[in-house]
Structures are given as structure tokens and as C-alpha cells.
């Protein structure tokens, strides 16, 4: 297994597209889009984020990438509702969404540890 990713965006299209893009360089990584509100509008969904974290978690850890500040607030709230054991395996990366997701996906595909995948996301800058 490997570290999984959750892509939290205000836009369903962005989250889905980031998964498509990162998938090209990471065929085997569990990547879950969590974009848009429950009804697909612009905003974030606690349910989609929570479900994404559960689906991405194979036991090796989950890295959550977010677009704007309120996506981070939603992701942090989702973490609060996890049990301690699950929460210990989840990290919210301080990284740009698209660029961080691709870097994290490549690291996860290579079997990197949770901390390494977070570091890969966070060292991703604008397009390289």
C-alpha cells in the first residue's frame, strides 16, 4: 500500500482534474477528490472531505491538500471528528494545491512515508 491523498477544493472540477493530472505520474496511489459542496456548488463539503479521508486511508497515512483557507478549515474540522487512531495518520499539507498534489503523488507512488510525502508536497513550488 502507500500513502493516500485527498484533494480538497472549492470546485468539484478542480479536485477531479487534479486527480486526473496526478494520476498520470502515480498509477497506484489512492487519490480522492473532495471538491465542491454537497450539491456540487462552489464551496467545501465536510462529508466529501471525511469520506475522502476514509477512502484514501489504507493504514499508511493520508495527506490532505487544500485550495483556499476555508478548505483548510473544513479539513481541520473533519480531522477533529476522526478517532485518535485515524487522525494520527492524517496530515494537512501547507502546499499549493495542484503543484503540491503532483509532487505528493509521485512521492506516494514511490512508497515514501507519510512525512516524506508531506515534505514533497510542501517543497513543491510554482510549476517546475
Amino acid at each position: 500500500m502507500s500513502v493516500g491523498l485527498v484533494i480538497v477544493s472549492h470546485s468539484e472540477k478542480i479536485a477531479d482534474g487534479v486527480v486526473d493530472l496526478a494520476r498520470q505520474m502515480a498509477r497506484d496511489v489512492s487519490m480522492q477528490p473532495a471538491g465542491g459542496t454537497d450539491d456540487g456548488g462552489i464551496g467545501t463539503s465536510f462529508e466529501r472531505v471525511t469520506a475522502g479521508i476514509e477512502a484514501a486511508d489504507s493504514g499508511d497515512g493520508v495527506v490532505v491538500l487544500c485550495d483556499l483557507g476555508s478548505a483548510i478549515l473544513t479539513a481541520e474540522t473533519a480531522l477533529d471528528f476522526l478517532d485518535d487512531d485515524a487522525r494520527a495518520r492524517v496530515r494537512i499539507a501547507d502546499a499549493p494545491l495542484v503543484e503540491g498534489a503532483v509532487a505528493a503523488a509521485v512521492a506516494a507512488q514511490s512508497g515514501d512515508s507519510l512525512d516524506e510525502v508531506v515534505a514533497a508536497a510542501q517543497s513543491a513550488s510554482a510549476a517546475s
Partner: protein
């Protein structure tokens, strides 16, 4: 007389009503320095809260109702206000867990924990032009009123007055958190929508408290 289960329910219903009434004003404020959805977000959230109130057990505590509001707002608001108010009600309800009626100390405990929850979630400081700029003066005023031995109703009225003043006082500020922070100096002259909605919420608390203690 005291603030019990019925007051908590009245407060949530009155909040939904005032949010619906001020929906377009909140949208307008958020359009000026944000993305224009704050009124919709809260209207959606409190409408969902109201829809759940009928199924609450008769022997529920205020904390039970406020915790239900918390989880419902978290699930339905869709913007920053969802996790922020959700965390506020959640932490606030924990602070008064098990109490069937709230005295002045309990009201202060609730407001303080709610404000601390918003800070824990959003990391904003006073002066960052966020809802914290309504909540912090509200908590200070509540603490002072309680220290002077005022009633629960008076404590909530003092909190609501301070929150309104605090919301107004966000107008000259530059934002350091949330979407308005993208605007830099251009946020000056605009009131923070979350501070405004916080003032509405606390005004609803004060008014429903006054009504329940006058026995209406």
C-alpha cells in the same frame, strides 16, 4: 425563567429568522470583500438546523441542542463560517454539558468557549477583521456584566451590544484572515460579514433570553 432547553431552541429559531431576514445584506457585505455567499451559507445552515429541531427529545439540555446546531452547520454551510460557527457551538456546548438551565456563569462559559473555538479553528487575532472582532468584545462584556452580578438576560444583552459595536469597528480594518485578506487596503471601509452575522446571532440570543425570562 432561567435559560433552559426552550430558550436554546428559541435562540436557534430566532437566529434562523434573523439570518434569513438579513440574508441579502450579508451577501452584499461578503460581495464587497469576499465571494458573496455568506448570507446564503448561513441561511442554508440554519434552515437545516431548524429542520432538525423537531426531532430533539423533550428532556434535551441546551448543550444537546447547540451541539446539534454545531454538527449541522459543519455539514451544511459550505464556507468558512461552517467550521467556524460549528466549532463555536461545539466547544460552547461542551462547556455547558449536562446543565439543564444556564445561569450567568454558564452563559459566560458558553460564550468564552465558543469564542475560543473560533480562535482555535481560524487562528485569527482581534483586529484581523473577522468574526472574532465581534466575539471578543462580546465575551469581555459578558465577563464584566457577570462580574457585576447581572442576570443572564443582561449578560447576553451586554454581549450583543458589544458584538454590534465590534462588527461596526471592523470597517476601518485591513483583513489578515479569510478571503478579505486578498484585498489588502481595499478592505478598508467595508464591514466584515462574519462579524456582522455574529452580532445578529448574539442579538437573537439576547432577545430570546429576554422573552423567555419575561415568560412569553
Amino acid at each position: 425563567m432561567a435559560l433552559g432547553r426552550d430558550w436554546a431552541e428559541s435562540w436557534l429559531r430566532a437566529t434562523a429568522a434573523t439570518v434569513a431576514e438579513h440574508r441579502s445584506e450579508l451577501v452584499r457585505l461578503d460581495r464587497e470583500i469576499g465571494d458573496g455567499d455568506h448570507g446564503e451559507n448561513l441561511d442554508r445552515g440554519f434552515t437545516a438546523v431548524i429542520a432538525k429541531l423537531d426531532s430533539v427529545a423533550a428532556d434535551a439540555t441546551p448543550a444537546d441542542l447547540l451541539k446539534l446546531a454545531a454538527t449541522t452547520l459543519i455539514s451544511t454551510v459550505g464556507g468558512a463560517a461552517g467550521p467556524l460557527y460549528g466549532t463555536a457551538y461545539l466547544r460552547g456546548s461542551t462547556a455547558i454539558a449536562g446543565e439543564s438551565t444556564l445561569d450567568g456563569a454558564a452563559v459566560v462559559a458558553f460564550l468564552t468557549a465558543a469564542r475560543d473555538g473560533i480562535v482555535a479553528r481560524g487562528k485569527a487575532e482581534p483586529g484581523d477583521k473577522t468574526m472574532i472582532d465581534a466575539w471578543t468584545p462580546a465575551v469581555d462584556a459578558a465577563v464584566a456584566a457577570n462580574g457585576e452580578g447581572r442576570s443572564e438576560v443582561e449578560i447576553l444583552a451586554a454581549a450583543a451590544d458589544a458584538a454590534e459595536a465590534g462588527a461596526l469597528a471592523t470597517e476601518p480594518l485591513v483583513a489578515h484572515k479569510g478571503r478579505a485578506s486578498y484585498l489588502g487596503e481595499r478592505a478598508i471601509g467595508h464591514r466584515d460579514p462574519g462579524a456582522e452575522s455574529s452580532a445578529l446571532i448574539l442579538r437573537a440570543a439576547a432577545e430570546t433570553a429576554a422573552e423567555s425570562s419575561s415568560g412569553t
